[in-house]
Amino acid sequence: MIKISNLEKIYRTEDVETVALNKLSFEVKDGEFVAVMGPSGCGKSTLLNILGLLDDPDSGSFLFNGIEVAGFNERKRADLRKRNIGFVFQSFNLIDELTVFENVELPLIYTGVKAAERKKIVEDVLDKMVIMHRRNHYPQQLSGGQQQRVAVARAVVNNPKLILADEPTGNLDSSNGNEVMQLLTDLNEQGTTIVMVTHSEHDARYSHRIIRMLDGQTVMQDLMV
């Protein structure tokens, strides 16, 4: 599904150059659940943004489903992204002005699904995430765990092949965190590929494989038993 080689990302500000990704290479197979770990500032989020086609690498190659996407323009990336990738963030990133239902509906709107069909799909997903009873609430009216369930619902509503999660449990207590991890595991078992950044060894254990990063490079890859 994903194959990156010699990926480089350098942030340049007025006087400092930060090499966020330094000739990074690895591969993620279809149906895998991979955890990315490493100290703060080692480039995990940068990597995830590139994998999610939100950002462009400075050099190197990025094959997504066998297609070279490094160097795609914004429109092409947006197009590929909205049909293939779902996101879960540490800070949930729900739109405050929209209800639970409307937040989850959003990706469907952008992929052009008809209203009647949207309603059915969203309700299905909300059911699955056990958040249906909150469909007309606004994000601020929900607990952190509930908000993250909505965010996961929104990430999966389009049936993406790949879910990228950046510290999805970072803002949650352990029981809510476990719940979210269980959701991701379930999705993975149904065939969705997952790449998850985490600081938690506990959460990492849900995955099949851990990629450990240091200063923008992979240091090792642990295979889980």
């Binding site: 939100l54 729900l94 739109i95 209203a115």
Partner: protein
């Protein structure tokens, strides 16, 4: 998709309530102002467009070129009509004779005099049938053909109803014009639309005028090509496909054929298109007012600028708000929204706000319309909703949406999703403060410009109202009568009865008060020379009490007396100087020939008085006695307070002139009327300056409240570190003060230039002092401080712990 846009737009409007209110209020005020301006322009430009041949109708204008000046007249010599018809057989010519202040007596039958008398200030036109082949009127009874005969007349429906009860009963009824000319009603037309310069109301046939020459005092001169009066006008309807220019060329030949070419003044004619008649300030017209295209354009410009100001507010506030919306935009992008979709969304939201503003604006305009006549020269009630105004509103709303929404939509949609989500979008990224500063400067420059214009216009109007006009306009009552022979014969008795009233100081019979909008000019010669002087002489006529009644000041000599009034003349200082005399006393005993008359001896020189409005300079003027023209009685009262003596004067009038209705007015009031247009203009400036200030303050308030939110943390930290309230208020107002000063640097020269130009319309005008500009800049700084101050103080006095915690 649109439902989603709609929901989020509505919620955004609600969520940022104060911003939305500011945006909607600002836009609504601006849009209402432009709607009103549009209605005014629409009305002015609609004059006489309803005639089906409007683009083929022309007025024959007379042009007099002398070595020193060029004059334009609507009046055409009486014999010209027949000559025109002869020489231009392919053109339809129509002629009319306009009568001011005619008295009409309603008669049951031709023999009994009734007491139903009406004075028509305007709308009385002796017209030939061709006039109505040129201009469209709707015939309810009769047809244009009835005007072929003398003694027939056509009435407009409402006038017929006023005189006879119903228009049906008016048919075949009789009217007596000015107690002399008997006419029979032979046709009724529907009332002429109000947007016409041809307010046909009472229309005797032109033949009636021709067959009653003795009442119009033209005598033999009626056949003279040298005489013309603005009351006699000729109109032309060109055949299709004929160019006015080709007629104009032939009119040159025509003029050479009929006018005496040896005279110093060369007369010729040209055709003035109907569509220009309402706007040509060189000429008089028959309607209620002439519009100045420059004023209309200024008005349009003000409308556009006011909407731009409101758009600037909108842009400023929405880009300021954009930073707050970064996260939403980022998430939408992550979810797959394209730039176009985001832009559409922003434009959609803008459109919704503009739509709300538009609806509010229509309401405001509706409330404002009844007050329109105070600022525009429009007496009719305009209709707010018509095809034109709806179209205008729709177009304006769309254009405003694009103007206001386009830039914010570009800014918002260009956010990088990763940064937007991380809330890294700060102010410097959204067009930065610098753009906003430029826009605020523009806004302030415009409102200061209007403040400057208002101060100067108001100052000039005060100056005029209190200016020395060279005679005493207070406590002079004017009674408009007639100058037919019966009326003139009764004047002496009338006067002696008037003088018996205790309130009356003196009485003078005249044609015209010293200051009036009428002018009577003639050629003249000085000191027994045979050659005419190369400039026109202005005439005022009055009896021997003229100078006393109007409080004029004699510089030398005396006023003429009853005994010598026919042979003597009094001149003004300007005429004296123009003929090259330095000392008033030297002028006494010299002679003047007025027109083709005999030489008269100068017996006195009066101090200059304003002949016309203060727009014009003082003209070389002679005062002569000319009893045949005395239709006006001027009564100097002992006090300005008329009280009971008004009734007494009325009784004296009724005793001597039972068959005439008395028409009275005070001289000072009629002089003030000269400046109606300027008065309106200065009122207009006041209104629009106020609107501009309100709009820019709304914008400023919005920006400062945004700044207050943004600087929340900074203010909190500063306060924790010990900053005082004052120093924090200073933090907010410092920047805006600088911006206002920059705006002033733009507005001051522009204001000086524009208003200096405007003042050139007046021969007597104020100097633009530095204080005008100081006042303008102080006013806007103070207004801005008041606006900023409130927000700044509430930010400065907020609890710092709260603001720090929320970060």
């Amino acid at each position: 998709m649109f439902k989603n846009y709609f929901t989020i737009a509505l919620r955004n409007i609600k969520r940022h309530r104060s911003h939305s209110v500011i945006n909607i209020a600002g836009l609504a005020i601006a849009l209402a102002a432009t709607i009103v301006i549009f209605l005014v322009l629409q009305h002015e430009y609609s004059y006489d467009t309803y005639h089906k041949n409007a683009d083929r109708i022309y007025q024959v204008i007379k042009k007099d070129v002398s070595p020193t000046e060029t004059g334009f007249q609507v009046g055409v010599p009486f014999p010209a009509t027949r000559a025109l018809r002869q020489d231009f057989p392919q053109v339809t010519f129509g002629e009319l004779y306009k009568s001011f202040g005619s008295q009409l007596t309603v008669m049951k039958d031709p023999n009994t005099i009734s007491s139903r008398r009406f004075i028509e200030e305007s709308g009385v036109f002796f017209a030939d049938p061709e006039i109505f082949s040129i201009f469209d009127v709707k015939w309810m009874a009769g047809s244009a053909a009835v005007l072929k005969e003398p003694g027939k007349l056509v009435l407009a429906k409402s006038i017929a109803e006023k005189y006879f009860g119903t228009w049906q009963s008016a048919m075949d009824g009789y009217l007596k014009i000015d107690n002399n000319i008997l006419v029979q009603v032979a046709g009724i037309i529907e009332d002429v639309p109000s947007n016409s310069d041809f307010p046909f109301a009472v229309i005797p046939s032109y033949k009636t005028f021709e067959s009653n020459q003795q009442y119009f005092n033209y005598g033999e001169q009626i056949n003279d090509w040298g005489l013309s009066t603005s009351d006699h006008q000729v109109y032309a309807l060109l055949p299709e496909n004929m160019k006015a220019a080709s007629i104009d060329a032939n009119l040159e030949t025509f003029s050479r054929k009929y006018y005496r070419m040896e005279s110093a003044t060369k007369t010729s004619h040209f055709l003035q298109p109907l569509k220009n008649i309402h706007f040509d300030t060189r000429l008089e017209n028959n309607g209620d007012h002439i519009s100045n295209k420059t004023s209309l354009n200024t008005l349009a410009l003000i409308g556009v600028l006011i909407v731009l100001m409101a758009c600037i507010n909108f842009i400023n506030l929405s880009t300021a708000l954009a930073a707050k919306r970064g996260k939403e935009v980022g998430i939408r992008k992550v979810m797959g929204s394209s730039k176009t979709q985001l832009r559409t969304q922003v434009l959609f939201e803008t459109g919704l706000i503009v739509l709300f503003a538009g609806m509010t604006a229509v309401l405001l305009a509706w409330l404002a319309l009844p007050y329109l006549r105070y600022i525009a020269d429009i007496q009719q009630q305009l209709t707010l909703i018509n095809t034109g105004s709806i179209l205008f509103l729709v177009i304006t709303l769309v254009v405003t949406t694009i103007l206001a929404g386009f830039y914010p939509s570009l800014i918002l949609s260009s956010f990088q999703p990763v940064e937007a989500i991380k809330n890294k979008i700060n102010n410097t990224r959204v067009g930065g403060l610098s753009l906003r500063r430029v826009l605020v400067v523009l806004q302030f420059a415009f409102s200061q410009l209007l403040i400057i214009a208002t101060i100067i216009a108001v100052g000039q109007m005060n100056f005029i109202r209190t200016a020395d006009i060279g005679f005493d306009k207070e406590a002079v009552l004017l009674l408009q009568g007639n100058n037919d022979s019966t009326s003139l014969a009764r004047q002496a008795a009338f006067k002696s009865d008037l003088l018996k009233l205790p309130a009356v100081k003196s009485v003078s019979f005249t044609m015209d008060p010293p200051s009036s909008l009428n002018s009577w000019t003639t050629n003249f010669a000085f000191n027994n020379n045979t050659e005419d002087l190369p400039f026109s002489l202005y005439l005022k006529t009055g009896d021997e009490h003229y100078a006393g009644t109007f409080g004029m000041n004699l510089l030398a000599g005396r006023f003429y007396t009853t005994a010598d009034s026919a042979r003597k003349v009094v001149i003004n200082e300007t005429l004296m100087q123009k003929v090259g005399i330095k000392e008033p006393s030297e002028a006494i005993g010299k002679t003047i020939r007025i027109g083709a008359g005999k030489f008269r001896e100068i017996v006195g020189v009066v101090r200059d008085f304003k002949n016309n409005s203060l727009r014009d300079g003082i003209q070389p003027t002679a005062i002569i006695s000319y009893p045949a023209f005395y239709s006006l009685t001027a009564i100097k009262l002992k006090s300005n307070n008329l009280g009971k003596s008004g009734e007494a004067i009325q009784q004296v009038w009724d005793k001597h002139y039972p068959e005439y209705a008395a028409e009275t007015r005070f001289l000072d009031e009629s002089i003030n009327e000269f400046y109606q247009q300027e008065e309106r203009l200065s009122r207009l400036y006041k209104v629009y300056a106020t609107l501009a200030i309100i709009i820019s303050c709304l914008g400023l308030y919005g920006l400062v409240s945004f700044m207050a939110v943004q600087k929340n943390k900074e203010v909190g930290i500063r306060k924790v570190l010990g900053a005082s309230v004052g120093s924090i208020v200073y933090l907010f107002s410092k920047e805006f003060t600088v911006l206002i000063l920059i705006a002033f640097a733009l507005a001051a020269p522009a204001g000086w230039y524009l208003m200096n130009n405007w003042l050139q319309n007046f021969t007597y005008r104020i100097d633009i002092g530095a204080w005008v500009f100081i006042l303008a800049v102080l006013a806007s700084v103070i207004i801005a401080w008041l606006t900023v101050g409130y927000k700044a103080i509430s930010a400065a006095t907020a609890n710092p712990v709260k603001s720090l915690k929320s970060e």
